[in-house]
């Protein structure tokens, strides 16, 4: 079970790095090329959200990204250091995000809208998704199937 772990300071500029690393490791693990864009986007959304949470909460810990190649799945975990348990946003809708954005005249509405929209995108992209938390803070777990290497040998 091969793993790659990445920890980065909660800076927007590093989110792109996390996307690139995740996509590269996913490709190497055997995730189908056709879903690499989804992997890249989902990791980017999860990391952007974590960065936003860290900044708003004044958390100095790094954002954690763990990439694990399992036997048949490629697992990505993105952890923030914000201890508040995250409620499920599986039903988050863009409409909710839009209503927040519409009400945003400065303040935090826009950030909440981005957060909600980010979760809406992740929920729409990823079939196997768990939004929860661990001892350190919020944790988003996502996984994608790995192509069976035996298929390539045929």
């Amino acid at each position: 079970m091969a793993t790659v772990e990445l920890r980065f300071s909660a800076l927007p500029a590093h989110v792109r790095t996390a996307r690139l690393v995740a996509a590269a490791v996913a490709r190497q693990a055997g995730v189908d090329e056709s879903v690499l864009d989804e992997v890249r986007l989902a990791v980017g959304e999860a990391c952007s959200r974590a960065v936003g949470l860290h900044v708003r909460s004044g958390v100095s810990h790094p954002v954690r990204v763990k990439l694990t190649q399992q036997e048949k799945r490629f697992l990505i975990e993105v952890g923030d250091g914000v201890p508040t348990p995250v409620t499920s946003h599986a039903d988050s809708s863009a409409a909710e995000a839009l209503s927040l954005a519409a009400g945003a005249n400065g303040g935090r509405g826009g950030e909440q809208a981005d957060d909600t929209m980010g979760l809406a995108v992740i929920s729409g992209l990823v079939d196997d998704l768990v939004i929860g938390h661990d001892d350190d803070g919020g944790l988003i777990r996502m996984s994608w199937p790995i192509a069976d290497p035996a298929d390539d040998e045929l």
Binding site: S48, A95, G118, A120, G124
Partner: protein, 113 residues
């Protein structure tokens, strides 16, 4: 890849040509550009996204914010995009119902509300 932005006028429309990646790092630059255009009195915007390699929800939020600003002046914000991977994000979030999305700048310029 960073974000590239350029603007030009076509009739009474202002075309914002965007290239590169729109994410949590670069989206503020796009937001600034849209705010500046509206503040200068450009209320009919066309955002050409054909050169965009990556778009995330932060970018969507900026576009929604731009739409809100131009609508306050009875303006419009149209998108130009043919890339399936970008269009998919608009579909997932239901924003295809919010933004008019066109296949070319010419089509967007010719469109009427």
């Amino acid at each position: 890849m960073d974000l590239s932005l350029s603007t030009r006028s076509v009739g009474d429309r202002t075309v914002v040509e965007v290239g590169g990646e729109i994410d949590v790092y670069t989206a503020p630059k796009l937001r600034e550009q849209l705010v500046e255009l509206v503040n200068e009195g450009h209320y009919h915007l066309i955002v050409d996204m054909e050169g965009v390699d990556f778009l995330d929800s932060t970018g969507l939020g900026v576009l929604v914010g731009g739409l809100k600003r131009v609508r306050a002046h009875e303006g419009s914000l149209r998108l130009v995009c043919n890339q399936e991977r970008i269009l998919k994000i608009f579909r997932i979030t239901g924003l295809t119902k919010v933004f008019p999305i066109h296949g070319s700048v010419d089509e967007a310029v010719a469109a009427n509300d």
